[in-house]
């Protein structure tokens, strides 16, 4: 292996070493999935406002055609993953633990997989202006592909507000089971490197660090080889420790600088992008191809032939599992994402979206769900917490519904990494308490906001009603006056008549 670590690394606090289980799919070449019978493309696959559909039922679309436009600054457009007919636009279950329906475009592929009129290949994309790169990334609908799904173009424009100096490419892939980024780096390092250089140009930074966990030596050597021609890109191995892939912790491990609470890594002059995102940026800027497919790891003890699959966005999870030989036994739980931070999926007909890095079908043994017992205040969670919080205290407050107290203990700094739940000897679902508390707090804020807005509406209405009343009153008075004036005039006329008659 080539020695890659020239720089010193720094320790991060806490963390855990879950069983990696990457062996099932490590080294599995990426296979292309066949086009599914129907593709289900949710309009919200990103953080922010849902996209607004611009197609109608029955319309024919080509591969890469825009299906829905982004709405507002923090949003992302959605494109057709293949050519075909729009079957419907309606509600379909979301790949989300609630299983709630979300507005989804259903596409019936025609099997031809015909591209739209693509622009000619840009042989020198690096000569583009930073704004042009960010614009193309926005138009391609690229979002953070590590799972956070934050629109990437917004992050590319950060240079306007922060003084940036370094780009960190997050290739830690610290979640157990997942190997999609690993495999992508092994197979397409050149595309990724060009993506990195494009992002560097968009951000106007002079340095990039690709951080790879030490358990991926092949990816590391492949990336080092590809990056050899570029002095400004360094490939670094970071120790294997969950959650190394959390952007704030990764930055700390690389630079020794801790991101302040509720601040961004951009405050330190550093922007973090996922490695698969870099590849998508390369595809978008060089070839003009929008983000319509991604690599997904399908793994877990209940899957017959685990593997890494390059699939179109919108392919149902069930199709990918079928492609991997189906279930060897009834899975105890199906998870979208990794086992630590991933979310359980309610059913397998939900589609793959831009942020799905993994589909795991775990057996009962792997899930190892045990009855929660009372907290014994052992402090294991405190040692494991990478953010230096007191999970046991936060959970006890969240349990009795005292969310404000939980916030005082640092609830808003929790990154929901799951390290505390992982080590808890009492099997307390700590993270669920935190997710519940965070959700309840957001709900409270929403209600508060609604209350304020409604107060405003009521005031506006009262004002309007007053104005109406006043206008009415004035009109009435005016009319009265007019009538009085008329009467007076009539009287005067009569008097005059009489006096004339008298005369």
């Amino acid at each position: 292996m080539i020695s890659v670590n020239a720089q010193k690394l720094f320790r991060i606090r806490g963390g855990v070493h879950p069983q990696e289980n990457k062996h099932a799919t490590a080294g599995c070449r990426i296979v292309d999935a066949p086009i599914a019978q129907r593709l289900y493309i949710p309009l919200q696959q990103h953080i922010g406002a849902p996209a607004e559909p611009i197609v109608r039922r029955g319309m024919k679309v080509l591969k890469g055609d825009l299906l829905a436009n982004s709405q507002g600054v923090v949003s992302a457009p959605v494109h057709a993953p293949t050519s075909g007919t729009i079957h419907s636009i309606g509600k379909y279950p979301a790949p989300h633990p609630s299983g709630l329906p979300v507005l989804t475009i259903t596409l019936e592929p025609d099997g031809e997989d015909k591209w739209m009129a693509l622009p000619p290949e840009n042989s020198d994309p690096l000569s583009l202006e930073p704004e042009a790169i960010a614009g193309q990334v926005a138009a391609a609908g690229i979002v953070g592909m590590g799972g956070a799904t934050f629109p990437s173009a917004v992050k590319l424009n950060l240079r306007k507000r922060y003084r940036l100096h370094t780009l960190v490419i997050n290739a830690a892939e610290c979640e157990p089971y997942l190997t999609c980024d690993d495999q992508l780096m092994r197979e397409q390092p050149d595309g990724i490197i060009e993506g990195i250089r494009l992002i560097m140009r968009a951000l106007q930074v002079t340095k990039a660090i690709v951080a790879i966990e030490a358990n991926k030596p092949e990816a590391c050597s492949s990336m080092t080889k590809a990056a050899a021609a570029f002095d400004e890109i360094t490939v670094m191995t970071v120790p294997v420790r969950y959650p190394m892939g959390s952007e704030k912790h990764l930055v700390q491990a690389l630079t020794g600088k801790e991101t302040p609470a509720r601040a961004l890594t951009a405050d330190l002059g550093i922007v973090v992008h996922n490695v698969a995102t870099a590849n998508a940026v390369h595809n978008a800027v060089r070839y003009g191809k929008p983000l319509i497919s991604r690599v997904v790891t399908v793994s877990g003890g209940a899957v017959n032939r685990p593997g890494n699959i390059h699939t179109l966005i919108g392919t149902p999870v069930a199709d990918l599992i079928g492609l991997c030989g189906g279930f060897s036994e009834e899975p105890a739980r199906i998870i979208g994402g990794g086992p630590m931070m991933g979310q359980p999926l309610p059913e397998t007909r939900v589609p793959i979206v831009k942020g799905s890095g993994g589909i795991l079908a775990l057996t009962a043994q792997e899930v190892a769900r045990k009855q929660a017992m009372p907290c014994i205040r052992c402090g294991s969670c405190v040692n494991a917490c990478p953010c230096g919080l007191l999970p046991l205290e936060m959970a006890s407050r969240a349990r009795i519904g005292d969310f404000d107290a939980a916030v005082d203990f640092g609830l808003m700094d929790c990154i929901s990494c799951g390290s505390c739940s992982y080590v808890c000897p009492s099997h307390i679902p700590l993270v669920q308490y935190f997710s519940h508390a965070k959700g309840a707090l957001t709900e409270q804020q929403r209600r508060q906001h609604k209350q304020e807005e409604i107060r405003r509406l009521v005031e506006a209405r009262t004002e309007r009603m007053e104005a109406l009343k006043k206008a009415k009153r004035e009109a009435m008075e005016k009319r009265k006056k007019e009538i009085a004036a008329k009467k007076a005039a009539e009287k005067a006329a009569e008097l005059e008549k009489r006096s004339q008659a008298g005369a």
């Binding site: 989300h96 979300v102 307390i428 519940h436 009521v458």
Partner: protein
Amino acid sequence: MITAIAILTILGITLGILLGAAASYLAVDANPLEQEIEQMLPGSQCGQCGFPGCSRAATALASGEADVTLCPPGGRNLAMDLATKLGVDADLSAMKDKAPMIARIHDELCIGCTKCFKRCPTDAIVGSSKQIHAVISDACTGCEKCFDICPTECIEMLPIPVTLQNWYWPKPAMAA
């Protein structure tokens, strides 16, 4: 003539001074607590509490005549806030554990009579004469004023629908 003018002038001045003194002496202080409570209430004057408006409800709350659980649109959160404010124990068990509701107009039954939107305290209903009306759910407080007035009973009160935007993890079932 002069006597009459003098008497009337003196009478006027004396009464004026008396009235002025009475106004400052017998002034009714607006209770600051009432004002604060009124600020906390939704302010939609819906009358579901049985008082003619939020300010009267605030008066009743401040004097302890009304229970903190009186306000249905405010829900449990408001009841708890009010209890903290007034330093009393809120008996939330008495409060109907009703989810916040919003109105929905069934458009096939709506005759466009405009009765409901004239009554809506928050302008949450849009429409005009002989046109189908619709509810802007973000602005609806669930005060049921429209529900009561609709001549065709086409308004239904529904709990706020759960979507991906407002769903969150439930509390873990087993107490830890």
